[in-house]
Each structure stands twice: as structure tokens, then as C-alpha cells.
Symmetry: C2
DNA sequence: TGTACATCAGTGAACGCGCGTTCACTGATGTAC
DNA sequence: TGTACATCAGTGAACGCGCGTTCACTGATGTAC
């Protein structure tokens, strides 16, 4: 508790974001309502308007926070892999899924809530910061591919993003039923592995 | 017009599904309401209950129809590629994206509306029929991989599904902003290409 | 061909509900003297 | 240390709205004779 609580909540803004995340996580972006978030924070719906412009603004704030965390996680993962371009890239890919798994509410707010990434310049900036890590790693990695058969770095960063997102949506959520017998982490790991082998960045007989 | 229209609509069930699809396509699964769908079909909300149990049932019907079409498309694509396992597989992958692009309402109802694939046995059956095409193609294709380094067919069918779904969600929708400079078709095509190369199913210097 | 009747797809009024948002207000907090 | 006062985070009542769903009904359709 950073501040005391009483008639004045003390930390309502954070509490509301937390409540929103919990609701989103439990019931999907559809299940989230301003009123219910207020109730979870122990506060009248009207109080929300002291801190946010409205319902959408609250979701955007959650997404903003999520992108911030995401960016840091990605950057950390990238650094951890350095100076090896390959290790950085793989590490970033793994971090993507790890984030989605650890912070499903944030992930949904960021990518499935319907709010635009370009809603505000600040949101766009932090989102870009997060996604550009993967781009940078791809860029670096693509230096190791012979120039004549090298695909644009944006393209294969896009491939990895798509694969990661697809794994998250289809296999890392409970709703799908027992659709797939593999843990999503393995699925992504092997998928990226095959992909990098296809680019000639991993020797074909390397088993790791 | 298969039947006449008047006091009795004649084809309300279909009209409601169509209205639902249009609304879903335009405003996302959240934006869809039973009442609005009824209005689009030129009918009182109460009339919906002659044909569906309720809101969810209507969405499920749309998804059901979608899976039927999807299954046929996938099967057709598969056949078209035969007897080459590789051609069948690639064709099915392409069909996946083509379906999502051509029938966004159906796609959303099927994969993003929150209704469970196991809602009814019939829905599960048709969904399974659609998805098993890719599985079968993967199975067949995996015969061409040396047994000792062959990944389970379910796994690489899952990879392709994830990649396809990710491309659809991230890059084949308007909402993302100008996030990616490549047409989604190219993105998926090249992605699958690299992946298959990684499996050793396409020679490394094949440019196609 | 015409009449009587069963069927059933649609109406329209009504319901209770929770939503997002507004407003004048109140009472806790922090500061100046 | 104590009092007066400005600030402002929260209240709670109210609003209009569209929602999903129900119900008794009505009127078009198709069939039997």
C-alpha cells in the first residue's frame, strides 16, 4: 500500500486498471464494463471519471501499461541474447509468448480489445518501442543471410509475430478445447526453429 | 429469392444469419446485437426466437455455416493439389487465408466470437472436418521427411494454423494501421515457404 | 372452385436490467497564517 | 499548535438508452373437403 485508504482511495487509477485487467482476463474484452471495474475497485462508477475520460480511455490505459511492460521484457530478452544475433532473436520470440501467458489481461487489452494502437501518440510510441525490438533483432539476424536470398527483415519479423500471435490465440487459451496436444511454448519454440532452419540460419542437422 | 416475401418473411433464418455476419464484419463480435440483426432483416427482435434459441445460438449458426464453407474450401484446395502432397499442403494453407479474407464475418464468428467449438456435437463435427484437412495434408507431407527427424504431423499442422491465424489477425485486418508493408497473401506464402524449407521439403535454393 | 380450418411465422407491447455518463454535492486532505 | 480555507477525490441520485427475452395476439399460408 503506497498510500493510505479511506474516503479518498489514494490510488484509484492503478486500482481501476488492475480491476479492468482482471475482468478482461476472466471474461474477455467484451465482458469488461466500466461499472463493474469501478465496483471491483470499491468505488462508484462516477469516480472513474476523475481519472479517465471514459470506458475506452480506461482500456487504453491498460494497453498502454501493457505495452510498457512488454517493451521492457522484449528489450531485456534481446539484451540477454547479445552479442549473438540468433540468441537475441530466439530470446525475443520466447519473451513474446511468455508475456502473453503471464499477463493475459494486458495482452488482450493490447491486441484484442479493439482499441487502435494509434489512439494517442504516446500509445503508438510505446507500442512501437515494444514491437521494434523484434524488428531490430530480425534486422541484425538477417545480416547473416547471403544478400541475394535475404528476405526483408520486416518480413521475417512479421512472420515471427504472426506465428507467436497465432500460437497465443489458438493454443495458449483455455477456450480452444483440447485442440492441440503440445504446450504452446514448445509449439512456438519448434516453429521458430524450423523457420530459422528454413532461412539457413541454423544448420539442418542441429537438433536443439 | 427462393420464396416470396410478405407478412411472412419466407427466409428469415438465412436473412438473420446474413445480417449477423454483416454486423460482425463491420463492428466486430462485440458490435453484434440480436436486436440490430433483427432490424437489418426487417423484422421484430421477437421474431428471432422462431428460428434461434437466442443471441448465442444465432452466432453459433453463423459459425456453423462458416465451418461448412470452410471445410468445403479446404477440401477442394486439398484435392486440387493432389496427388502432390506438397501442392496439397500449400494449397490448403492458401485457402485458409483466402477464406478469412473473403468471409471475414464467418471467420470472426468461428474464431473470435467467443463461442466454443464444442457448443454442440454438430458444430464440433463440422469444425473438425474443416481443420482435419490441414492435418491430413500435413500427415501426408510428413511421409517425405526422414522418420528420425520427422516432427509429429499434428505439430506442423498446428504451426501452419498458427501462422495463418496470426497473419489474418495482425495483418489482414484494417485496424492494425499501416503496420506491415506486405500483402498478407505474400506474407503467408513466403512464411510457409521458409517453414517448408526448414523441414527439408523444399530444396534450399528453390526460389518459388 | 370455394369454403372452413389448422398451422405457424411474425407482431408489438411490455418487462427488468445494467450500462455509460452527468451533476450538484460532500467530506477528507493539505496548506497558510 | 490551532484555526480558516482551498482543493479535489469521491458520493449517490438521476437520466435516457438499447439490450435480451416473454407473451398473448394476429394474419398469411396451405390443406381438406
Amino acid at each position: 500500500m503506497p498510500k493510505k485508504r479511506g474516503y479518498h482511495h489514494g490510488n484509484l487509477r492503478e486500482a481501476l486498471i488492475e480491476a479492468a485487467l482482471k475482468l478482461i482476463e476472466e471474461k474477455g474484452p467484451t465482458g469488461f464494463t466500466l461499472s463493474e471495474a469501478a465496483k471491483h475497485a470499491g468505488v462508484t462508477p462516477a469516480a472513474v471519471y476523475r481519472h479517465f475520460e471514459g470506458r475506452e480511455d480506461l482500456i487504453a490505459a491498460a494497453a498502454h501499461q501493457g505495452f510498457g511492460m512488454f517493451a521492457e521484457l522484449m528489450e531485456y530478452a534481446y539484451e540477454k541474447g547479445q552479442p549473438s544475433a540468433l540468441a537475441s532473436f530466439e530470446s525475443a520470440g520466447r519473451a513474446y509468448l511468455a508475456f502473453a501467458r503471464r499477463h493475459p489481461g494486458h495482452y488482450i487489452a493490447m491486441f484484442e480489445s479493439g482499441i487502435s494502437i494509434n489512439r494517442t501518440p504516446e500509445l503508438a510510441a510505446v507500442a512501437n518501442r515494444a514491437l521494434s525490438v523484434l524488428e531490430r533483432a530480425a534486422e541484425e539476424l538477417s545480416q547473416h543471410i547471403p544478400a541475394d536470398k535475404r528476405p526483408p527483415a520486416t518480413m521475417f519479423s512479421a512472420h515471427i509475430r504472426a506465428l507467436s500471435h497465432g500460437v497465443v490465440e489458438l493454443f495458449a487459451r483455455g477456450n480452444s478445447g483440447a485442440n492441440c496436444p503440445f504446450p504452446p511454448e514448445d509449439l512456438l519454440e519448434t516453429g521458430i526453429g524450423v523457420y530459422l532452419r528454413g532461412l539457413g540460419l541454423i544448420p539442418a542437422d542441429d537438433d536443439s
